[in-house]
């Protein structure tokens, strides 16, 4: 497993879930430590699904905690890894559109297209059937397209 690559992907997922980079990074590191300590994923044969399930549960726990004011609400995202201003603007629009989507659709879209996870693994992480994942992906993508088209007009 390429730790760096998976770390980046998981961070994007947790950041989407929590909308707070610092908290997302805490969750990612905790998830990785739990994942590396436990070897039970070997029995399941789906280590990515196992890792994401740990992170997802940790995010849910985090969201249940009493709400504290997030710094990310006041400040922009940290340096986005060398993107040019135009791309960064597009990303902001896209993130804003994603925020408007229902939680379950947003999660599936990010897992599929941002983290490039397989539909089978998404189904395992979210507890849905593969068919339901496919259906939600199509629905989410078309909603996102409509929103972005609306913004462009």
């Amino acid at each position: 497993m390429d730790l760096k690559e998976q770390y980046d992907k998981l961070l994007k997922y947790c950041y989407m879930k929590l909308n707070n980079r610092e908290a997302a990074e805490d969750i990612v590191q905790e998830a990785f430590l739990k994942f590396l300590q436990s070897r039970s994923y070997k029995d399941t044969g789906r280590e990515m699904a196992y890792l994401y399930t740990i992170a997802r549960n940790l995010c849910i726990d985090e969201l249940r905690k009493p709400v504290t004011e997030s710094l990310d609400e006041h400040f922009d995202l940290p340096d986005s890894g060398g993107n040019n201003p135009e791309t960064e603007l597009e990303n902001k629009e896209l993130r804003a559109a994603l925020e408007k989507l229902p939680e379950d659709l947003r999660e599936i879209i990010v897992l599929r297209y941002t983290d490039e996870m397989s539909v089978t693994d998404i189904a395992r992480v979210t507890g849905m059937s593969r068919y339901a994942v496919h259906r939600r992906l199509n629905e989410g993508l078309s909603r996102l397209k409509r929103m972005l088209k609306g913004e462009q007009k």
């Binding site: 497993m1 980046d8 990074e25 986005s80 890894g81 994603l98 990010v110 993508l141 088209k149």
Partner: protein, 235 residues
């Protein structure tokens, strides 16, 4: 805006630059996420292409000689295989020879892990050569493959066992001299056996049994070698 464009944009939607904290975490946990196969790939680079190529050349040369020669040549060639075991022990001793223990221990891998991987790599290359050779000359000799493997593999494995035992017990000069003597004895083993046994007359059960016993001894010695010499001498 097409679906493809949206999908491409989504790839970087939550992209952020790596923080110091992220880099430190990855550095600290990289080894734990590595699998044996990843380290094997890294060690292959450490060993170098020269070592692997010379092994293949050695094997090809032996096969060519054996194919052209008679049964006697094949018998004598088995005397050369223990030399590969000496090469293996020498490469394993590289860490100690060049005083690299401290440096290697400070890397992301433990010494035990490094030794295990090297032994796996070198052992599989050597055994691969012996098997390839045995298969290639199978039709040249008047006895079965198991007997042939026994006569080719036992001197090599005996030398691996002896050299590992010596390396585990002795260090520095004593170790080198011991390993050379052990190699010489192992090289002479096929010639001694030649006077005692005729491979074409014995049942394949005996070579298989001897091969099994020597292999078990090598596996046991390898485990002890990794377990004991993995720790630093000054600890």
């Amino acid at each position: 805006m097409t679906d493809r464009e949206i999908k491409n944009m989504l790839k970087n939607a939550y992209q952020t630059a790596p923080t110091e904290r992220e880099k430190a975490f990855i550095r600290a946990n990289e080894q734990r996420s590595l699998r044996l196969f990843d380290v094997l790939k890294l060690e292959m680079k450490y060993m170098g292409v020269k070592c692997i190529l010379s092994g293949l050349l050695f094997c090809t040369g032996l096969i060519a000689v054996a194919k052209a020669g008679d049964l006697q040549t094949v018998r004598y060639i088995s005397s050369l295989f223990p030399l590969m075991a000496l090469m293996l022990t020498e490469l394993l001793g590289k860490t100690e020879k060049y005083g690299m223990s401290e440096l290697e221990a400070s890397t992301r891998f433990s010494l035990k892990f490094i030794r295990l991987v090297r032994m796996l790599l070198l052992g599989s290359i050597s055994l691969g050569i012996i098997c390839a050779f045995s298969l290639a000359v199978k039709n040249t000799v008047p006895f079965g493959l198991i007997t042939l493997l026994g006569f080719m593999g036992v001197p090599y494995l005996a030398n691996v066992f002896g050299s590992l035992l010596i390396t585990r017990k002795w260090h520095s000069e004593k170790n080198y001299i011991g390993c050379i003597i052990c190699t010489a004895v192992s090289c002479a083993l096929p010639s001694v056996l030649k006077f005692l046994l005729k491979p074409e007359n014995i049942s394949p059960l005996y070579p298989a049994l001897v091969l099994l016993i020597v292999s078990s001894a090598v596996i046991r010695e390898s485990i002890l070698f990794i377990r004991e010499s993995g720790e630093l001498a000054w600890n």
